[in-house]
């Protein structure tokens, strides 16, 4: 079934304004589905709660900068070695963004539970010695281990309404190849009711069938496929191009106050279509492309 849609239509059709729980794929400055996120901002879709991978980055920050996020469930939002995410930090410090404090293991296991219809996930001993369960009673609790009688930590299942994900390539049916690290993107796809996928390129199904073991997102989980070459910029697209530390640093300096952040959003997102944006970054993107020798690692060909 052809699931290929233009960017604007994918967002229009599948992301209701005020969506309950939306999750964004990628981790740190890699594989952030920025084209989808920019379109969410252009269409001004408010999000009740945003869930990041264990390490959110520009994917979370830009939605926060646009003022679209009411609550965020995360274990990290930042730009790793480059610095802190200014709007994430400022909106929490000023009390305008509510945090559901999580840790990496809970997000990972919680998505497993959400994907598998598990009522909750029992967690290893240890988290109770941190302050995290104390400040997030919605996601962390305790119950009795019936095999030992002990009280143990448990986490709530994570079942996003919508996942925005990036993959290197897909066919029109949504069978998709993640070319590098999978992070928790596959579990987001398995756990979410609706999955929107942006890809560097759409290829024929025959191309996909050549490397079935590298194609780890089945089309039946995907609701829309959008072709957005360069769509992860300024984050990296594994297999295609590196992240742009200069652009991130520029963003950080512009967004150091609310007005700056609004200006950045207006200039680079709202006042430009995605195509126009791609044109402005085209030259820089060419510099960031991985060398010719670097092939997407998942694309093995099966002979015979």
């Amino acid at each position: 079934m052809n699931k290929v849609l233009p960017l604007s239509e994918a967002v229009e059709r599948y992301i209701p304004n005020g969506v309950g729980l939306l999750t964004v794929g990628g981790m740190h400055l890699h594989n952030n589905p920025m084209a989808l996120i920019r379109e969410v901002i252009r269409q001004n879709r408010r999000i009740k709660r945003l869930l990041t991978s264990p390490c959110g980055a520009f994917n979370a920050e830009l939605l926060i900068a646009a003022g679209l996020i009411e609550e965020i469930a995360t274990s990290y939002v930042g730009f790793e070695h480059i610095g802190l995410a200014p709007c994430f930090r400022r909106q929490i410090e000023s009390g305008t963004l509510k945090v559901l404090e999580c840790d990496e293991a809970y997000i990972t296991h919680g998505l497993y539970a959400g994907a598998g219809g598990l009522p909750f996930i029992a967690l290893p001993k240890g988290i109770e010695f941190t302050d995290i369960p104390k400040v997030n009673k919605e996601y962390y609790s305790t119950t009795t281990d019936p095999f030992t009688g002990n009280q143990v930590n448990v986490g709530a299942p994570l079942k996003p309404d919508v996942a925005l994900l990036h993959a290197y390539q897909a066919d029109k049916n949504g069978n998709a190849v993640i070319a590098g690290a999978q992070f928790v993107d596959r579990y987001m796809a398995l756990a979410s009711k609706t999955v929107l996928l942006q890809v560097e390129r759409i290829v024929p199904t025959e191309e996909i069938s050549k490397h079935p073991q590298g194609t780890t997102i089945p089309g039946f989980l995907v609701h829309a496929v959008v072709e957005t070459p360069g769509g992860c910029y300024p984050t990296s697209s594994h297999g295609a191009y590196d992240f742009d530390d200069r652009q991130i640093a520029q963003y950080m300096s512009i967004a150091k106050d609310d007005e700056g952040a609004k200006g950045y959003i207006k200039q680079f997102v709202q006042d430009m279509s995605e195509d126009q944006y791609l044109q402005t970054i085209g030259e820089r993107l060419a510099e960031l492309r991985y060398g010719d020798g670097v092939l997407p690692v998942a694309l093995s060909e099966r002979k015979g």
């Binding site: 740190h28 790793e80 070695h81 840790d103 001993k125 995290i132 690290a181 579990y187 992240f243 991985y290």
Partner: protein
Amino acid sequence: MTVSSNDQLAPWSLSELMAVELAKRLRNDDVSIMGTASTIPQVACRLAQLTHAPDLYSIAGGTCSVNPNLGPVVASCGDYDLLRADTSLSLNDVVLLEGRADVLTVFFAGGLQIDAFGNCNLVSVGDWNHPAMRGPGTVGLPFLSRVGRILIYTQSHNTRTFVERVDFMSGPGFLRGPADWKAADLPGGGPQLVVTPLCTMGFDPETLRMRLETVHPGVEVDQVRAATGFDLVIPKLVPTTPEPTSEQLSIIRALDTNGLLKGK
């Protein structure tokens, strides 16, 4: 910050010195894992593999690849280049292994705040509900309670980072001290080392409080004391951290062709 000279390879940087100090604590049978912004531990692991610990396993916490080749060292733990490695795990695999507690022996940790008992905080300074400073978040630090040995590194040694008690416990060290630590009966072995731009520190085996071990070349003990926001245990004799050898430096420079550690 370049502080000293050694030979034709020098001057060495503090980041390079820190990498060397971390490398020394790695054993040939360790399985180590690093998280966010881990250029220094990356280099430490690769240096150890190329010198005294060829069988050391090193996991990049972002890509979850095992023994990345690091040619050159990269700035992000999720970098595509880290996938040039021996083995690939998924993030779920790595989180599982963290929970298992008998496989991973070394975790490289850090914090916005690090307290006298080696507890770390990456979440918030001040009251969590109204933070004076919001940090990025804890990522995998709660796993500290389950790992064999915690090696802490930080680029900032000052009284804001080193505090008597973390405002928010996001990575358990020795908790509130010996009684608390014993009662908790955690599978992990607790923090073993703290490396900063000023010194290396360990923990007093009785009180489990942080104890100065060595001061880096050119650093005075009083300078460390003043930069530390709690009563640091200070032995009578505090040796100077050895400078990186030229062999160590030449290995590091061959890995770090982009000079990520060199200037800092």
